[in-house]
């Protein structure tokens, strides 16, 4: 089977986010970059599916040249091919992003590469748009399951589960399909040293997508107001237990 996994390069933020002076972006001077955690799991899932079923996996991203680092990181854990839809580094809105990815998948199809499964993260860590996978699926006429934390593929069918109110909802669709996954679907592996070295040597296929901005337009970013309250120290060590239980009673979570 052929699996495509779509990832996004995002900064690896620390304890506090700082903005650039024009308030349009995160100040990334000191930050590394990674892919969103959900997508890290999507890539891992792709590798596992190919290990189990045979076939080939491809990673795709839309982003600047520097995003090839994230493509290589995916190849380092075992993804076979990489496609970079190269932009000038500006943010693309979710509508334009989905259109570009759908275009790229059509180009692949025209070249004879069809995908049984197209994996996304449920939402990007930075923009949190919650819609790219769905828009790609609609554009390609494919079924889409979102928020998946357990995926089983066999006999041309995908069976997926997602969390719902402490239990699970189960979906089943025929392939080809689009699935967006959540962190927790697996525990992604670390790249091995040979894996990293192999990834370094691999080619990245590049193309320049057509920009069709149409989504929400980012005007500026700002940091939420900090609400630093005053902390009441109930005590130290085990001696604090009665005070804690008094508190629990007071706020009504412990009936006497």
């Amino acid at each position: 089977m052929n699996v495509l996994v779509c990832v996004k390069r995002v900064p690896e933020t620390g304890g506090r986010v700082s903005l650039t002076s024009d308030e349009r972006d995160i100040d990334t001077r000191y930050l590394g970059f990674t892919v969103s955690p959900h997508e890290e799991c999507a890539a891992e899932e792709a590798v596992r599916l190919i290990e189990a079923n045979g076939g080939s996996s491809t990673v795709l991203t839309l982003g600047p040249e520097a995003a090839s680092d994230q493509l290589r990181a995916a190849m380092a854990i075992g993804i076979d091919r990489a496609i970079l839809l190269e932009t000038d580094g500006q943010d693309w809105d979710p509508v334009a992003t989905a259109a570009a990815i759908a275009d790229a998948i059509r180009v692949e199809a025209a070249a004879g590469v069809s995908y049984d499964l197209i994996l996304f993260g449920n939402e990007a860590a930075d923009s949190g748009d919650f819609q790219v996978a769905i828009r790609v699926a609609l554009a390609l006429g494919l079924p889409c399951i979102s928020g998946v934390k357990s995926l089983d593929v066999r006999d041309g069918m995908a069976s997926a589960r997602r969390e719902s109110g402490g239990g699970w909802e189960v979906f089943e669709v025929p392939l080809p399909a689009v699935v967006s996954v959540r962190e927790g679907i697996n525990l992604p592996r670390y790249p091995s040293v040979p894996g990293r070295l192999r990834a370094k040597k691999k080619e990245i296929e590049r193309s320049v997508p057509m920009a069709r901005p149409s989504g929400p337009t980012k005007l500026r970013l700002r940091l939420p107001a900090e609400t630093e309250g005053k902390v009441e120290i109930l005590g130290s060590g085990a001696d604090a237990a009665p005070a804690v239980v008094d508190l629990l009673e007071r706020i009504g979570v412990l009936a006497r």
């Binding site: 620390g14 079924p143 239990g167």
Partner: protein, 331 residues
């Protein structure tokens, strides 16, 4: 009109949808217009749930109790909302920023050839139409303009961030008109639907709904030591939540992760044990009414979010609290 997609379960509207209705009313009143708030409800129980919305200022409800839509089918539900929006021509289509809210509205927006802005906190209708929305799980805010790509009169599709608004009953209950709606669906719309459900474990308190969450971080030290936290959670009829470090280390399953990529919790009290308070974790627990921190490090970042703290080793403090609860319950 502002049209709100209301999620309901067995005839009861979800709290998050009531929040979205409250948000809709605020948007309407802030704009100075007397825009009515309408609701769309899908699935068995829709009519019953709709009845309760009068108290929240909803003036008309469109209910879909089509047999084909009894199981959740995101594409079909999305098309339903899109079709209703096309016929009602609301200025805004709104949903809660939940799994289903995001999913249904994403479909509806895409099918309406419109953009969607997720997890909005503020909406400023007008020209340009601006929203303030969450990025990075809420640790960063974005002000964005939502152009009417398809021309004037097109609806804006928005979800509102969970816990950002309180469900507010209207001062006076208005008359509610309930209209059945029958969408036109095709087979592909129904390809994806819930084919079965796995019920929650009996007696297990869901993390998202728990009134008490006992959280554990790196400071717990290992997989075995979580039994102390579980004991306390059980005594309080609460749930155990953990930080990302804990799931990455394989100490606990990801289903217990609280944070940007895990569960968002909103308990009455969050008891954070051995958690330093990375920003990714904070965004998952900031809806807690109060936070009690148990930590050896009085300088841990999470202290700035805490209302209460106990300084000390959680392995001493947590069992002592459990013992104290048992002592009082026995007496």
């Amino acid at each position: 009109m502002i049209l709100v997609f209301v999620e309901q379960d067995q005839g009861r509207a979800e709290r998050s949808s009531l929040e979205a209705i409250s948000a809709a009313r605020r948007i309407a009143s802030a704009a100075g217009s007397a825009e009515p708030v309408a609701a769309v409800l899908i699935g068995p129980g829709a009519t019953m749930a709709a009845a309760g919305l009068a108290d929240y200022g909803v003036s008309e409800a469109h209910v879909v109790e089509d047999e084909a839509l009894s199981a959740y089918a995101p594409a079909a539900w999305g098309r339903t909302v899109a079709q209703l929006a096309a016929s009602l021509a609301p200025s805004i289509v709104l949903a809660a920023g939940t799994d289903r809210g995001h999913e249904v509205l994403a479909y509806a927006a895409a099918l309406s050839d419109a953009p969607m802005a997720a997890n909005c906190l503020e909406v400023r209708p007008g020209s340009p139409f601006e929203v303030t929305r969450q990025r990075w799980g809420g640790s960063l805010l974005e002000e964005a303009a939502l152009d009417a790509a398809a021309g004037p009169g097109t609806a804006r599709f928005l979800t509102v961030a969970e816990h950002a608004f309180q469900p507010e009953p209207a001062s006076e209950s208005s008359p509610l008109a309930v209209h059945p709606f029958v969408p036109t669906l095709s087979e592909p719309d129904l390809r994806v639907r819930v084919v079965s459900k796995v019920a929650p474990e009996v007696g297990k308190v869901s993390l998202a709904d728990a009134r008490v969450v006992v959280g554990g971080g790196r400071g717990v030290g290992g997989a075995e030591a979580f039994s102390e936290l579980e004991e306390l959670a059980r005594l309080l009829h609460g749930a155990v939540g953990v930080s990302r470090v804990v799931t990455s280390a394989g100490w606990r399953p990801h289903s217990q992760q609280v944070g940007q990529t895990g569960t968002r919790i909103a308990p009455d009290i969050y008891i954070a044990c051995g958690i330093s308070g990375a920003i990714q974790h904070i965004v998952g627990c900031k809806a807690a009414k109060s936070i009690l921190v148990i930590n050896t490090d009085r300088e841990a970042p999470i202290m700035s979010r805490a209302a209460y703290a106990v300084i000390g080793d959680l392995h001493a403090v947590v069992p002592a609290i459990s013992a104290e609860i048992r002592r009082r319950q026995a007496s």
